[in-house]
Symmetry: C2
Subunit: 249 residues, 2 copies
């Protein structure tokens, strides 16, 4: 069986997220698996398993989610891509399909991930990109947020920023960089790291925004990390502003 | 009474177009008039009349539609803009409000208009901007389309490109420029002129695309203009790709 590496982009607005949920058919993974099953002419209960590099939450978008799937087909990668782009809903697109080595695993082999969170503050509002942007009520202090972000860089136990209270596995992650930029009315937070816990990027962004709005001190971050207590961190910003940008191998 | 010049942007996807339609409440003009009536605390049947620089059709977008409205209010232009952005639906935004001279009329005083039509051709599809882009099945010949477009420049009777068969007024218009550009998978047609007839930009684009796909000759355009016969021109491309970009005064 061949192993295909597939790169997807999607507007997550109307989906329950990447991962399969029992009894629900509106997940990205579900849409892709169902379509590939149809492409391969397989019976309904026997669709190929699509492994994603990460599990984006409900309402979160992706510019480049990588997944892989083992399947047997005479179609070329180009033909698979055309088929998928033709029959997937118009809010899910395929940007690349290629054969990978037999042992390639989109999640286990990922060495880095980039996520971007986009906010907006201005006199008008983002009419055309409104599904991808979180609108703020006032202008946050970028310098204060950058100062706070510097404390997050490195390998830490990010338990304070983990949205899953039942998390049994390690909550240690490595954050390589957090870039906070403003272009016009658009404020972006770009996170690169080894991987991120559930809701972690959204909780980090909510915490940084609280610093930006003077609700907490930039220098309070080290103690917050040390506390390993989710209730002490900031709020979880809404999913619409979040987009998975890249997976490194 | 003061006369306010208001600049709007909107995603026209779910609207019947700019202009009021009897018994229908989902027009841009209707939404704006109803909101201003509420802002001015006027009774329901007595809303202020909002005059638009043009009448965008159902499904057509605007990056900068200009309108004007005569009304009496103690609010500053900034306060009017904030009120409107707060209470208009999230697919209609206000980018500017200012007091204009008493005699300013957004339609009669307009000396030029810019419209842009956006297409896409590529292996993937435009997931995030899918509401604003018309997807083509193949790559059109840009040079042939530019050659055809050159024949359209100038003052002509554009009856062949008018979507309203009952048009009683003059169908003479001046087209100053048509720029056809491709950036990556995005192909844009930017039209600037004195004004455009109903569906004119969409019929011009459909005709140019037919040239781009080898279905008609670039040099057939002068005879097509001279024929003054809508049935001889190209098809009307879908509204989603069209956006009103600018009004000049």
């Amino acid at each position: 069986m061949k192993n295909y590496k597939i790169t997807l982009q999607y507007d997550g607005t109307r989906y329950l997220g990447w991962e399969h949920q029992p009894g629900k058919d509106n997940t990205i993974q579900g849409k892709v698996e169902t379509l590939l099953g149809r492409m391969l002419d397989r019976p309904e209960g026997d669709v190929p398993k699509v492994i994603g590099a990460g599990r984006t939450d409900a309402g979160v978008h992706a510019a480049a989610m990588v997944c892989n799937v083992h399947m047997e087909t005479a179609m070329t990668p180009e033909e698979i891509m055309t088929y998928m782009n033709t029959y997937l809903p118009d809010d899910i697109g395929v940007t690349d399909v290629r054969e990978a080595s037999e042992r390639f695993h989109s999640r286990y082999n990922a060495v880095g991930k980039t996520y971007r969170y986009t906010c907006w503050y201005g006199a008008c509002k983002p009419v055309f990109d409104r599904r991808y942007i979180y609108v703020l009520d006032s202008q946050p202090d970028l310098d204060a947020m950058r100062k706070a972000a510097a404390h997050l860089i490195g390998t830490h136990d990010f338990k304070s920023f983990c949205g899953n209270p039942k998390m049994k596995k390690s909550t240690v992650r490595r954050v390589d960089s957090i870039e906070i930029e403003q272009k016009g009315e658009r404020i972006t937070f770009t996170y690169h790291g080894s991987g991120f816990l559930q809701y972690m990027v959204r909780i980090l962004t909510g915490t940084l925004l609280e610093v930006g709005f003077g609700k907490r001190e930039a220098d309070s971050i080290p103690a917050l990390i040390a506390a390993e207590n989710r209730t002490l961190a900031g709020y979880t910003v809404p999913p619409k502003g979040l987009c998975m940008m890249r997976v490194d191998y």
